[in-house]
Amino acid sequence: MIDVLLIAVPAVPVVGALLVRLPRTPPGADRVNLIGASISAAVALTASVLGIVHGAQGLHGSWFVLDRAGACFLAVIAVVGWCSAMVSPTYLAGAGKSLFTARRARAWYYTAFYLFWAALLALALVKNLGVAWLLIEATTGASALLVAYSGRRNALEAGWKYLVLTTFGLAVALLGILILFAGLAPHGGTLATLDWQSIARHARGLPHQTALFALILILVGLATKIGWAPVHNWLPDAHSEAPPPVSALLSAALLPTVMLIAWRVVLTLGVAVPHHLADHLMLAFGLASLAIAVPFLWRPMAWKRLLAYSSLEHMGILALGIGFASPLATVGVIIHLAGHALAKSLGFYTAIPLLRHDPASAHRAPRGLARLSTPVAAGAGISLATLSGLPPSPLFFSELLILLGGIVAHQIAVVSIAAVLMALGFLGLAHALIETLAGESHGHRWRSGRTVRLTGRLTVGLTLGLLALSVGAYLLADSHAGASLMRGIA
Amino acid sequence: MSLATLIAGVVQVAGGVLGAPAIVGLIQHLKARLQGRRGPPVLQPYRELRRLWGKSGVAPEPHTLIYTLAPAVAVASTALVLLLLPIGGHAPDWGLGNDALVLVGLLALARFAMTLAAWDTAGAFGLMGAARDLMFSVFVEGLLLLVLVLLALPLHSTDLLSVSHAATLPEVWARPAHWAAALAFCLVIVAETGRQPVDNPDTHLELTMVHEGPLLEYAGRELAYLQWSAAARHWIMLVLACELLIPHPGPFVAQLAVLGGGVLALSVALAVCETVQAKMRVLRVPLLLGSGAALCLLGLASWFAGGGG
């Protein structure tokens, strides 16, 4: 039963990818997209509920492992994917020429989108490092096309950089996996050798050098895909050039999901290297990402580029949470992941009406939205306020929990530096928030068309989600949950 | 209530209310003599007060209630200060306590009232003096508080009675801290009483006035009030100097004698100093007072260096 369900999780979107090519007319494609997305999301959410309900020890199967953390990731991917699928028609309606011939553009978009989504969903479930690598590589292929969808010169450039950097990074990671595989060869040398459990079981037996180098190579490789500084450089370009729904999926689903893999590597392989080296590597990546993000946040930036750099910052925070490796921090990471996903995708969705009514905001900071359109201003404001970790947003509590977890892990120095860096990053976001909402705006109010109305609905929905999340975080942020999450992942 | 305190109370009131103008008159007289003039008689201030009492006041245009209240407030707070003073180490309990800081506060209240009155008439000259007066007060109050710290050292109290008890015996002059306090307090006296080199009380040029400036518009009884309170400020300062700084051993009578002699001597000193000293530039005054403050800090250091005296 559970196997079928979990097979369906990636299978349904794949089928959707095929079906969406059938209808000849755009409306037809949109309709298929609507149905397919809803079904896939429903399936994935059911699975994640199952995982959360009795996944304390993790449900293990032929190819998957469904534990609490994985279930949370699955839910996030499902929700964000669904929202992106819902806004895609509005985006496509207004998107001009694209990379593909006008007739097939929509079909290609949906196909790539669904394949991308399917890969992500599967990624949250796989129990095997090798397979995970293959899936990550697959996401690159699908998403690169989507990034360049608009076919503009900048989009091509961004897509190309994304493709090259991540593929080379993943090549490095693959070398690391090979080294690990070679090290584990005495315990089988079959595909199953790379299962998380078998890695965890035999890690202690590994020659220390092998484990260390495998770990370094894998982490550096995955870092390029997660977008950790200093190998994050594709991230701002891709996020700012991709179609908004895709940017949302990239930032809110792809990066965290790859990070889940990195997390599992750290948890399984980390025991093989002395004195928490793996955790310290994570902390280093986290601080580096925070520090690199700050100067960019300080500059008035185009809306989506700003969001991209804030993604860099938040990936850093998540890395810190993982590196602290204490239950509180783990709870913080999960809450942060979810909150960031909702807020960030909301931000990207508001970019659709923004770019529609004010195309210039593709390369300069938006100003005075409050006077131009209330729903858009609300969406942008709520998303930015949440991302800058202001109470009562869930990110406030998650950051608090992560830092507290850091102090529990006796990392006071790291926590202090991180707190200061977060405050510095906040400056940029605060400035952007003030100017975006209250700055001097030109032109008169936008008429509330389809996109604006949709943004309004999304804003309401996602805001309710955020509130629910923060209430949950505030009331239930209690260390038992964290412990079970930790147990779940390992 | 013992006889001593009774007498002390009488002196507090009578000396303050009736005796104060005599000090001013004395200083004027001596000054004139030292300058080779005959000068006004010692009782001249009383005559002036009587004359003003008979005259009607002036209601300048524009003015508000504040202009009317100011002299009364100034006189009232000065009068209350009289009741805080120890006389020969004694004072009756008027229910007002004898705290030094209360004294400072009341003097500030008087200054506040007068400077505000200067604003009320929208006149140009009064404010010139008011601004300077307030500027001095910043430094004077700082210095006065430092002096109080030094005087509070022996008995750890700001109660004027206990401070004057602490200064009963001549041994106090053995302490550098006491010397510092005494010297600094002399500066405070000169500044508070508006004497040269800080201010020239008998100038009639509006541009050089400090304390006199805000009085310009007043006439009649209100002016009488203000002239009396100027005189009373002399009394207050001199009595404080005698009680807190000059040793006054022996029985109460002797102490009273010391007080009277001290007040006389200090008046003479003021007169002499006014004759030999020219009025200094307004902007130099803070330097003078600042040096006093430095002196006080040295005194404090010496106290602790001397193992707490």
């Binding site: 190309w160 950089k161 950097l165 990074g169 260390l212 370094i216 870092a223 290297v273 690199i292 100067p295 960019f296 300080w298 500059r299 109470p391 509590f397 608090l400 830092l403 507290l404 006071i412 405050a423 510095l424 906040f426 400056l427 505030y474 209690d478 | 009607s56 006041g57 209601a59 245009e61 524009p62 504040i66 002299p71 009364a72 407030v73 009232a76 009068a79 209350l80 008027w94 705290d99 800081l101 209360v102 400072v104 506060g105 200054r111 506040f112 604003w119 009320d120 008439t121 140009a124 500027m135 109050e141 700082g142 508080l145 430092l146 710290v149 509070a152 050292l153 109290s157 700001t158 009649g220």
Partner: protein, 646 residues
């Protein structure tokens, strides 16, 4: 949870309901009324807890489970919030328009009040920090709702920026304390205590607006609507000191004498610097904002003295200094609230608040004018008002620090005493100027000439505040022993109307006030027994004209000249003459805020330049990015190979 708990709950609900109804209904008046009712209920709760001394609700806890409660200290600060909040909301009821902006401001007011209340009632670290942040954010939002011009946006940004960077200190301190169970009742000691002390000093004193971390305050406070400014200046910055008190007196084992001395130094700097720059201001609300810095400095002096006394083993004086600090916090809340509301009333009546363009308002607006003057006397620390009582107590404790047992402590005490005395005199100077320019003399603008008194609600709120200034000035003794009991050592002081403290000549406020009033009335009667002859003011015979009137700059000139080296005033006289005939002479003078020109300006410019350089990382060249990848790889591998990574 008992009666006070119920009162708090009712009050909070009333405020929330008020905020909601103000947002939904067409006019915010009813909602604001409900808010001020809620404030009254909270005041009752605060007084109840303060008087009974029994804590209600949860105690402080170190985990992250939400908890709320109320103890003596919280009760006192709840009272501080309420005595400003109630009149402020009443004032806003008449001050705010019934349009969208007015309604949203009313909602923001309610949210602000709730944030303040939540902060003093928070009992666990996440709630504490949450409300701490909200307390900062809501007024920022309120300012932006009121006005969106460039100046406002910049001010709000600076406010958020500085408070947030400083606030990271609070975060670190609170998290460390929570993790070590210090909130749960085991004070944190050892080397970590010093770290936490530093972090909390930085964090809380930024929010309290203590120099040199104050730069946001004179920018942000004048921007807000009057009643929000009153709450910010009167309450918000005090709550930062509440946090500091919690950390330094309750959650930390004494880390050493230096903490108290540092706090005193900061306080002295703030009070002198604050009042000096206040004197140099020519805009009323900005001037008042600088005075908030001064008064927070005075409170900090008291707290620092209390810490030092505690550490040198004089519990009685420690408690007195503590009580003095708290009393001054309450007093400042009262008269600063009064003054800001008065400023709001004036601006509603005449528009701009440039000091040189006002004048003669006492005649036009007797109620506002009289209460404003009273508030000015109180903040100037003149007897028999409340400012004098608390400054007297603070001065006494500093002075007794000056006669304490070690040279270092004594010098610190003596210097602080002199500084506070000078500050008091400067405050008198400043408010003589303010009263003179705003209320007295001739009106300098037509608006001032026909200004009319504000509605009754606004008047009532100001009268209430003025009345409580008098009451606390006459009967401070009713409160001080209770406050001293909250302090370290739990000392019981002598009860009574006045302040009867051993080691002083005692301050019988009641007798003093009565004597003053009686004498003054008698003297006035005597003097006025003859009718005074009306006559124009003497200005060398010509009629008094506004052109000749004194300006704010002119009145403070002597001080500016004396302190030229310190204040570095800048003046510029431009004479435009053609053919030897002078056509116009323009004079410009200003006193730059040295902390901005010498400290904040260079730092921010440098930071921005550095950021610009750092941004060149994103050069746009794919090959550079690949080189980063190789370099990172090489670096980590080399570290691993050389065994640095184990």
């Amino acid at each position: 949870m008992g009666t006070p708990g119920a009162l708090v709950l009712a009050g909070v609900l009333a405020i929330a309901a008020g905020a909601l109804s103000a947002g939904l209904s067409r006019s915010p008046r009813a909602g604001l009324m409900a808010q001020s009712v809620g404030m009254v209920l909270l005041a009752l709760a605060g007084v109840w807890v303060l008087a009974s001394g029994h804590a209600v609700g949860a105690g402080f806890r170190s985990d992250v489970r939400p908890a709320f409660g109320l103890d003596g200290l919280s009760g006192f600060f709840l009272l501080v919030i309420a005595v400003v909040g109630a009149p402020a909301t009443l004032f806003a009821r008449d001050a705010l328009e019934a349009d969208w902006q007015g309604r949203s401001l009313a909602v923001a007011t309610g949210a602000f009040l709730l944030a303040l209340v939540g902060f003093v009632c928070a009992r666990d670290v996440s709630t504490f920090l949450g409300f701490w942040e909200l307390m900062t954010l809501v007024p920022a939002a309120a300012i932006l709702l009121a006005r969106q011009d460039r100046e406002a946006r910049h001010g709000v940004f600076v406010y958020l920026a500085i408070t947030h960077i400083g606030g990271s200190g609070v975060w670190v301190a609170m998290l460390v304390l929570a993790q070590h169970g210090a909130l749960g009742g085991h004070p944190l000691g050892g080397g970590l205590a010093a770290f936490v002390a530093c972090a909390s000093l930085v964090g809380f004193s930024t929010k309290a607006g203590l120099m040199p971390l104050h730069s946001w305050l004179p920018r942000a406070h004048p921007l807000a609507p009057a009643h929000i400014s009153a709450l910010m200046s009167g309450v918000m910055i005090k709550l930062a000191l509440y946090g500091l008190v919690r950390v330094l007196f309750q959650w930390l084992a004494p880390p050493g004498l230096w903490v108290g001395i540092t706090l005193m130094a900061v306080g002295a700097l703030s009070c002198v610097g604050g009042v000096l720059y206040a004197l140099m201001q020519h805009e009323l609300k900005r001037l008042l904002a600088f005075h908030s810095i001064e008064n927070v400095g005075i409170v900090a002096l008291g707290l620092g003295a209390s810490l030092v006394f505690r550490d040198i083993g004089q519990p009685m004086w420690s408690a007195i200094a503590f009580a003095a600090a708290l009393l001054h916090a309450l007093n400042h809340a009262l008269f600063k609230g009064l003054l800001f509301l008065g400023a709001g009333a004036f601006s509603k009546a005449v528009g701009g608040l440039e000091l040189d363009r006002l004048g003669g308002l006492l005649r036009r607006m007797p109620w506002t004018g009289a209460t404003f003057a009273l508030g000015a006397m109180a903040i100037a620390g003149l007897p028999p008002l409340n400012g004098f009582a608390s400054e007297w107590l603070t001065l006494q404790s500093l002075l007794h620090l000056g006669v304490a047992s070690h040279l270092g402590v004594a010098l610190a005490g003596a210097l602080a005493t002199a500084a506070l005395a000078g500050t008091a005199a400067l405050a008198v100077y400043c408010f003589v100027k303010v009263i003179g320019l705003v209320l007295l003399g001739l009106p300098r603008r037509s608006e001032c000439a026909e200004a009319s008194e504000v509605p009754v609600g606004m008047r009532a709120s100001m009268v209430f505040l003025a009345g409580s200034c008098v009451a606390l000035g006459v009967l401070p003794g009713l409160l001080v022993p209770t406050l001293a009991a909250l302090g370290p050592g739990r000392v019981r002081l002598h009860e009574g109307a006045g302040l009867n403290v051993p080691g002083t000549g005692s301050l019988p406020t009641l007798a003093l006030a009565l004597a003053l009033v009686l004498l003054v009335s008698a003297l006035v009667r005597l003097a006025r027994s003859r009718r005074a002859a009306p006559a124009p003011t003497w200005t060398c015979g010509q009629p008094p004209a506004t052109g000749l009137a004194w300006t704010s700059a002119g009145f403070t000139k002597p001080l500016r000249l004396v302190l030229e080296a310190l204040l570095r005033p800048q003046r510029e006289v431009r004479v435009i003459s053609s053919l030897g005939v002078v056509e116009s002479v323009t004079y410009q003078a200003e006193v730059p805020h040295l902390f901005d020109t010498l400290l904040y300006g260079p730092v921010s410019r440098g930071a921005l330049r550095a950021a610009g350089i750092a941004r060149s990382v994103q050069s746009g060249s794919l090959r550079a990015y690949l080189i980063y990848l190789l370099a990172l790889l090489g670096l980590l591998l080399a570290l691993a190979r050389t065994g640095v990574l184990g």
